[in-house]
């Protein structure tokens, strides 16, 4: 799925990274534990998380992810968004819960 299709599917708001809307998202990973992300992500490029602080952006950068989707309506602050832009990562936010978001993505081919 393209990022813009994921945006529609999850009713998400794009907070930065407009240039990435047409990029293909093939795999996703979901966790609130940074060390799990650092240990288990292989080549998934989309991170779903309900954790909100600047370490989420740095963690995603360390494992070369391109997209972060905050669930449960979590909203990053300006400092986090600046960090994401600097790391070339697109950031989205959805009101949907983690389970629902993952289910919808999985059902639509993002594995």
């Amino acid at each position: 799925m393209k990022l813009k299709e994921i945006m529609e599917l999850l009713d998400a708001t794009l907070l930065c990274g407009e240039d990435k809307l047409d990029m293909e998202v093939e795999g996703a990973f979901a966790s609130d534990f940074m060390s799990d992300i650092l240990a288990y992500v292989s080549d998934q490029k989309l991170l779903l998380t309900g954790m909100i602080n600047p370490q989420v952006i740095r963690t995603a950068e360390m494992v070369d992810m391109h997209f972060i989707l905050f669930v449960r309506g979590k909203m990053p602050d300006a400092n986090m968004l600046a960090l994401a832009e600097d790391s070339d990562i697109a950031v989205l936010s959805t009101k949907k819960l983690m389970y629902t978001s993952c289910g919808l993505l999985y059902k639509n081919g993002v594995r």
Binding site: S35, L38, A39, N53, E61, M62
Partner: protein, 140 residues
């Protein structure tokens, strides 16, 4: 050719800035043209270690030495030390406090992942004096 060395002071009081030394290292290695899988392994090792220095040891000094055949990361702190390294190396074992948990750390996964992502890892620790973690990633 002489080694290239980067050195960073890691502030132990600023949980939100922790990880900036690792970001800077990642960007330096990109500029130097290292392959992405090497950069990724260095990034993961250094970031886990840098976060550990902040959440467990009140900060320290991070040094990255780029040699001809490998990259060495040296993380030196004057924290409490690690009383039982075997236990600390076990997946799931953590003494992280609530503040670290709030940031998403404290799963007890950092040290085992640092070991897995590096070619060599050594922990030199004295209780009450501090810890030095040295990790080597081969580039040839």
């Amino acid at each position: 050719m002489a080694d290239i060395v980067f050195e960073y002071q890691v502030d132990g009081s600023d949980y939100h800035r922790a990880g900036e030394a690792s970001r800077s290292t990642k960007s330096n290695l990109k500029k130097l043209g290292f392959p992405s899988d090497i950069i990724r392994r260095v990034g993961i090792c250094m970031y886990e270690g840098e976060i550990n220095m902040v959440i467990h040891a009140d900060g320290g000094v991070a040094k990255v030495v780029i040699g001809l055949d490998d990259i060495t990361i040296i993380l030196k702190d004057k924290g409490p030390g690690i009383p039982n390294i075997d236990l600390a190396m076990q997946e799931g074992w953590s003494t992280a406090d609530a503040q670290a948990n709030d940031l998403g750390f404290g799963a007890g996964m950092g040290l085992p992942n640092m070991k897995r992502c590096s070619d060599e890892m050594n922990i030199d620790t004295v209780v009450g004096e501090g810890t030095t973690v040295t990790m080597k990633i081969k580039t040839k």
